[in-house]
């Protein structure tokens, strides 16, 4: 299936797509001129679809910027030059972008700018589940919140239209299971694309928010937000279901679909008001709804965001309606999947009658978390590095595939905060560390993203820590996107330019050499760096398979030599090794092994070798 061909069709059509893909057709129909991004779940498939479109037709400029802040600035620059722009990234990406993002609403964004957020309630693939609606309120930025792929498409079109009309940023807030939900979406036809513009205003001070100019800019921003609110009062995205009840529910986004499931089981369901936008709220619509009900329950994921606004509006309107929201800690946590909505409803209104959640037996198998792939250079690196470390050493992880090293059996990485934190955190740890060394890790994409300031700080402030750059030549965790390093900027040369006194580079498959290099780096009296390098083997084998080349070799175990020390399983732990539950012998799963051979050197009995695929 050629996604690019489908998304660039000129007529109207329908297709089964996920939310992330539907979004890109909407960008085309809206006439977007520039798209920028930094990869992060749940948004990478937006970029996949963008790439597919660009292979077909050059409809807009696209780049992976080095981080979310730069991506936002690129989109901002294009917007104030008069061109409709889009920037997209994951939830926590907004923290990185925030320093520039908070200024956007103060300025006239001539061409329009839509910020597409991939929020992650439930922390499906993130380090927290932060509720980014707070940023919207802080900055007077309107938000539209789709619940399914069809709404992603229509809401993006509306977001783009309103943003260009108000010259104001608009957020399209998607969440993980909106980004990845799949269904048949009806698309419109494409108009002839307009040419890009250059209408940047050179008027003195127009784009300089500073001291005295800020007040007027802020007022303009508030007035634009009010314009959006006026539209929201009559927006078709707000959906009212009147069941003739004296009870009502107000909700927004994906939880509205969970409610559809649970309410369909109830004999006398409450009335339902589904909002298309959580900010700014349609206050008149909501107060009318509250005024005509005795009790209104607010069903929203994460923080009591619309709840607090609605309570304030009800107070201002002097309503007697009882507004019920979050009280227990569990009310604030996680996704509102159908089961969670069922439990929430029963907590708040114990007498209404959806059946309680199914009483299931406990699952008798342990969870199977993600792990490093067969042949992963990080596994080989961790195995070698562990042989250079002292039990008193402290290891600091960063964000990326290597973060998985914190798990059994590697136990590599004891602290994690955010993209690029490792050298800042590591420096602070080292100040009072009585014994042993602080070892920090960082991947190559994260190195360029936000890693450099912490590294420069460690060099400048003379922190004696050892950095191990886990360089695999791609942004692996999010699906192999390019980054500054793949674009030709050398990690090693950048580090050399900082005047670091110790830099060694070793292929991670050369475990003895890597162990020795790390020992020397730890002994070095100053900030030291080891670049542990090996290409991402998942990317490599996928590319080989696309060219029709299957792995022809695999690991083999000579059962006569094997002494059942089991280092290959208990320490190296490549998923290709299997244990025979009957006799405890070790075998190799030919479906998994890629024949990379990084395991051979881990066997002290020399029982592992590489032979032909079985």
């Amino acid at each position: 299936m050629d996604t690019g061909k489908i998304l660039t069709r000129s007529d109207s059509f329908s297709e089964i797509v996920m939310g992330n893909t539907a979004l890109v057709r909407a960008m085309i129909e809206a006439g977007v001129k520039l798209v920028s991004a930094y990869p992060g779940s749940p948004t990478p498939e937006i970029a996949d679809a963008v790439m597919a479109v660009r292979r077909q037709e050059d409809l807009f400029y696209f780049e992976y910027s080095v981080n979310e802040k730069v991506a936002s600035e690129v989109a901002f620059g294009a917007s104030i030059s008069g061109n409709l722009s889009v920037v997209f990234f994951k939830s926590v990406g907004l923290n990185v972008a925030a320093d520039s993002f908070v200024q956007f609403s103060l300025l006239d964004l001539k061409g329009g700018l839509v910020i597409v957020l991939g929020d992650d309630p439930g922390a499906n693939s993130s380090q927290n589940e932060q509720d980014n609606r707070h940023y919207a309120r802080m900055t007077n930025t309107p938000v539209l919140e789709p619940a399914d792929p069809q709404q992603v498409y229509v809401m993006f079109l509306k977001a783009a239209e309103l943003s260009a009309e108000l010259q104001h940023p608009v957020i399209l807030r998607m969440t993980t299971h909106v980004c990845h939900a799949k269904s048949r979406v009806r698309f419109g036809s494409r108009k002839k694309a307009e040419r890009s513009k250059w209408s940047f205003s050179p008027e003195p001070g127009e784009y300089i928010p500073l001291t005295k100019s800020v007040a007027a800019m802020k007022k303009r921003s508030i007035l634009k937000l009010e314009k959006f609110r006026e539209w929201n009062e009559i927006s078709d995205f707000n959906r009212l279901t009147d069941n003739g009840s004296n009870r009502g529910i107000i909700t927004c986004g994906l939880p509205s679909l969970s409610l559809d499931d649970v309410l369909s089981e109830i004999t006398n369901p409450p009335d339902l008001l589904v909002l298309g936008s959580p900010w700014p709220l349609p206050i008149a619509l909501i107060t009318d709804f509250c005024a005509s009900h005795d009790e209104v329950l607010i069903v929203e994921e994460l923080d009591p965001f619309i709840e607090n606004e609605i309570k304030a509006a009800a107070y201002d309107a002097g309503l007697g309606c009882r507004i019920i929201g979050k009280t227990e800690p569990e009310d604030f946590i996680g996704e509102l999947r159908p089961g969670a909505v069922r439990r929430f409803l029963l907590r708040k209104w114990p007498e209404i009658d959806p059946a309680p959640a199914a009483d299931l037996p406990e699952i008798p198998v342990l969870p199977r978390p993600a792990q490093m792939c067969p042949g992963c250079g990080h596994r080989s690196a961790f195995h070698a590095i562990s042989r250079a470390l002292h039990p008193k050493d402290t290891t600091v992880a960063d964000i990326g595939c290597h973060t998985l090293g914190y798990m059994e059996p590697y136990r590599m990485g004891q602290v994690l905060l955010s993209m690029g934190h490792s050298n800042g955190t590591g420096s602070g740890l080292s100040v009072f560390k009585p014994e042993g060394r602080v070892i920090t890790f960082i991947g190559d994409s994260t190195f360029f993203h936000a890693g450099l300031p912490g590294i420069i700080n460690a060099v400048y402030n003379k922190h004696k820590i050892t950095l191990i750059v886990m360089e695999n030549g791609t942004t692996a965790m999010t699906g192999h996107q390019d980054h500054a390093g793949t674009g030709g900027i050398s990690v090693r040369q950048v580090l050399q330019a900082l005047g670091i006194g110790f830099i060694e580079e070793v292929d991670t498959y050369k475990q003895k050499e890597l162990t020795e290099a790390v020992k020397r780096a730890i002994a070095f009296d100053g900030f030291s760096v080891v670049i542990a390098k090996h290409p991402c083997m998942l990317k490599f084998t996928r590319e080989q398979r696309r060219r029709g080349k299957e792995p022809s070799t695999q690991a083999q175990i000579n059962q006569e030599v094997c002494r059942r020390i089991k280092t290959c399983i208990s320490e190296f732990a490549c998923p290709s090794f299997m244990i025979d539950s009957e006799d405890g012998s070790i075998g190799v799963n030919p479906e998994l092994c890629i024949g990379d051979g990084s395991c051979v050197q881990t066997c002290s009995a020399a029982a592992v070798s590489i032979g032909r695929k079985q």
Binding site: S183, D261, A357
Partner: protein, 190 residues
Amino acid sequence: MKCNIYLNGVGGQGIGVLSELVIRAYDDAGFQVKGVDTHGLAQRGGSVESHIRIGYPSGSPLIEAGKADIVLSLELTEAYRALYGLLRDGGHLAYFDTLWQSLPVRLEAEKAPDAEMIGTAAAARNVSVLRVGTDGSGDVRMQNIMLLAESVKGGVLPGIAAGNIRSALIQLFSGEVLEKNLGLLESIFG
């Protein structure tokens, strides 16, 4: 017809393609379909799942625990997990008979489930079981298609036929991959 189909397996087994084929086969048969896959971090050799809901024009793309009518699983351990986690009493389970040992199993902290354990647990909950691929033959990367075709042939997936899988394959693939998959379909349905 309303039906909740839950798919699971281990990251790397091709569950994304399986889910896309099931969705397109039901769409081809004229049903209203929605679904959602796990993506991103969860893909690296961890448990992966897809939810598919047939005939629910409103409602979540996610299936509530204990409300799946059918589970298709690409791996033994994951079949066992879904049997306890998502499948309703009296539901249907079809699984591909292969074992990707999890780390606790490899570290001998846990025993891997086998066909017998699945059979016993299924019988206790009145769940029908279809084992696919027990002879160990076939291309590893076509196990997903084999499970789908055998599930349709074995009556586990209601409302669709070989022709709908064929249409789904044609929508998704071309060239040699399509030919190989159509060949497999032919060999199963005759």
